[in-house]
């Protein structure tokens, strides 16, 4: 799957699509593929505050468990009930229907730690070796 260029990425394999004051967050195709069949997604509650690079949830597959780290700070505006009901959605469509949370974030929030598609691709390539 080629990396969408309409969003930014983290070293921990999250993607974040920022639209004004809302950041939509999910995990990348590389992440879902490494995890294998996802059986459970644990998301923060709406209204909870999250802090950049701190764990805010968990994605669990049959053989592994992975923390989801907040790529930006803010408050949880919405969570994707669909992936809680059917965790396989994250495997099937990690960049689309498999989104995890929407964070209400202050504009001007630090973006330096976020990677563009090329930079993230390099991270993935390095991990493969």
């Amino acid at each position: 799957m080629s990396l969408p260029t309409d969003r930014l990425y983290t070293k921990e394999h999250e993607w974040v699509k920022i639209d004004g004051a809302t950041a939509v967050v999910g995990i990348t195709d590389h992440a879902q593929s490494s995890l294998g069949d996802i059986v459970y997604v644990e998301l923060p509650k709406p209204g909870a505050s999250v802090i950049r690079s701190k764990a805010m949830g968990v994605v669990e597959s049959v053989k592994a468990v992975s923390d989801i780290f907040a790529p930006v700070s803010g408050t949880i505006a919405e969570i994707n009930g669909g992936v809680q009901d059917d965790p396989a959605t994250v495997n099937r469509d990690p960049f689309g229907d498999g989104w995890l949370v929407k964070i209400a974030t202050a504009s001007g929030e630090a973006r330096e730690a976020l990677l563009d598609a090329d930079a993230y691709q390099r991270v993935v390539d390095e991990e493969r070796h």
């Binding site: 059986v39 459970y40 669990e60 597959s61 049959v62 053989k63 592994a64 468990v65």
Partner: protein, 449 residues
């Protein structure tokens, strides 16, 4: 002895490896070779080992004596069929069922154990077993603490003292605060009107350590009204066959000891603990869980699941550190439940009720002795004794009877109280012998005054 290697084998293998000697491969480095003579008896032949251990088994008079001991371990009739099937080599020498294709026997048996415990407790899910009832209680407490976000636990003093000691040990190391609720004169917990909102759980045992059936539903309302979970503990799993289920009584988590289902008292173990709960708390369950699925050919199959909670995946974030559990004991319990069925289990439970009441009425006829509490009971109860119960028990031991547990062992102020238990194996002759001995001691006490 159990190793097959001939000297030729060893030499041939060393040649393949390219090592000159066994010592090259296995000797420890430098100064770590053992220098002293080890305090281990020299090896003996199988028949000598057998005889020596038989000698030690024979020295245990307590195994042969008429016994009224209960208090968390119960002598029941163990139908030979249960152990016969459950201790086949194929179960006894099997490994943990991580490879589902190679372990359907063990996995299905655990699935059946999980189901039995759900049916008995009324809960939705039950795990593959934990070490015993006391650690099951600890695990239940940890689950409640995670669920409620608090490390404050209220527990009745009528919960088994050794279970409470275990909980306190864990609590000291894990930063939990344990608050004990006193027991009333009637042998049951003195439940307060209100419970501070900071408690994660209220822990009640029923039947309790004194044998009394508690007002668990009242305790559950108290817990829930004050934002806590209700944890039900049973040390005598047979009581689940006749009493209202923990679920019906309002428990959120039901834990306890299933040794009564076909396991010997065996000087303390191995036993088998169960941890069961409602669907809401499934992810907090410790240890292994077996689930039902299908294989690539569409066949029904069983497999360990939700391993994301466990130590081998989650490591320091695991719900518990438990790895090895009590699989074979759970299998024996499952085979016991299968062998006796509903029909047998109800009959055995009824026999326990009947024998305990036969014992109670025989004792109440003795001057100086009476039941300490009026509360309903299953197969254990406390009697008040005319002389210090500890001394009484000692004298009865010399007369060949294990009289029960003097409560002063655990509650120092209760010097004239004895906890006695009768099960389906307690005969009229046993009761007779016991009451005659008690009567003699009672008379001796009167004469001494």
């Amino acid at each position: 002895m159990y190793t097959p290697h001939t000297p030729d084998d060893i030499q041939a293998m060393l040649d393949v490896i390219g090592a000159p000697s066994l010592a090259t491969l296995s000797d420890p480095p430098r100064g770590l070779k053992i220098k002293q003579r080890l305090d281990v008896a020299p090896s003996r032949s199988e028949s000598e080992v057998y005889a020596d251990i038989a000698r030690m088994a024979d020295l245990n008079d307590g195994a042969r004596m008429v016994s009224f001991l209960g208090a968390g371990a119960y002598r029941h009739y163990r139908p030979p069929a249960a152990a016969w099937f459950a201790t086949r080599s194929e179960f006894l020498t099997a490994y943990t069922p991580y490879q589902a294709e190679a372990s359907q026997g063990s996995l299905q048996a655990i699935f059946e154990w999980q189901t039995y415990m759900c049916l008995l407790t009324g809960m939705d899910v039950s795990n593959a077993s934990v070490y015993d009832g006391s650690t099951a209680m600890v695990e239940g407490v940890i689950m409640a603490a995670h669920a409620e976000g608090s490390k404050r636990i209220a527990i009745s003093q009528a919960v088994h003292p050794l279970y409470r000691r275990t909980l306190q040990t864990y609590a000291d190391g894990m930063g939990f605060e344990i608050v004990e609720l006193p027991c009333g004169a009637g042998g049951r917990t003195a439940l307060p009107e209100k419970l501070d909102g900071s408690f994660a759980a209220l822990v009640m045992q029923s039947p309790n350590f004194f044998g009394c059936i508690e007002e668990v539903d009242r305790a559950a309302r108290l817990a829930h009204d004050n934002g806590a979970l209700l944890i039900h503990v049973a040390t005598e799993a047979l009581s689940l066959a006749v009493l209202k289920t923990p679920r019906e009584l309002g428990a959120d988590i039901a834990v306890g000891e299933a040794q009564s289902f076909g396991l010997p008292v065996g000087y303390g173990g191995p036993y088998v603990g169960y941890v069961s709960t409602t669907r809401d708390h499934v992810r907090r369950l410790p240890g292994r869980l077996v689930g039902q699925t299908t294989d690539s050919g569409g066949r029904r199959a069983f497999v360990l699941t939700l391993q994301g909670r466990e130590q081998h995946i989650r490591r320091e974030l695991a719900t518990s550190n438990i790895c090895t559990n009590q699989a074979l004991c759970a299998l024996i319990a499952t085979a016991y439940l299968a062998t006796v069925g509903a029909k047998g289990l109800r009959a055995i439970a009824a026999a326990n009720l009947q024998r305990a009441r036969a014992l109670a009425s025989a004792i109440e006829k003795l001057p100086g002795y009476e039941r300490a509490h009026d509360a309903p009971f299953f197969n254990e109860f406390v009697i008040r004794t005319p002389v210090a119960a500890a001394e009484l028990a000692q004298r009865l031991q010399r007369a060949g009877v294990l009289a029960g547990v003097p409560l002063s062992r655990f509650y120092p102020a209760m010097t004239h109280a004895l906890l006695v238990c009768a099960t389906e194996v307690t005969s009229d002759a046993d009761i007779d012998r016991f009451t005659r001995a008690l009567a003699e001691e009672g008379e001796r006490a009167v004469a001494a005054v």
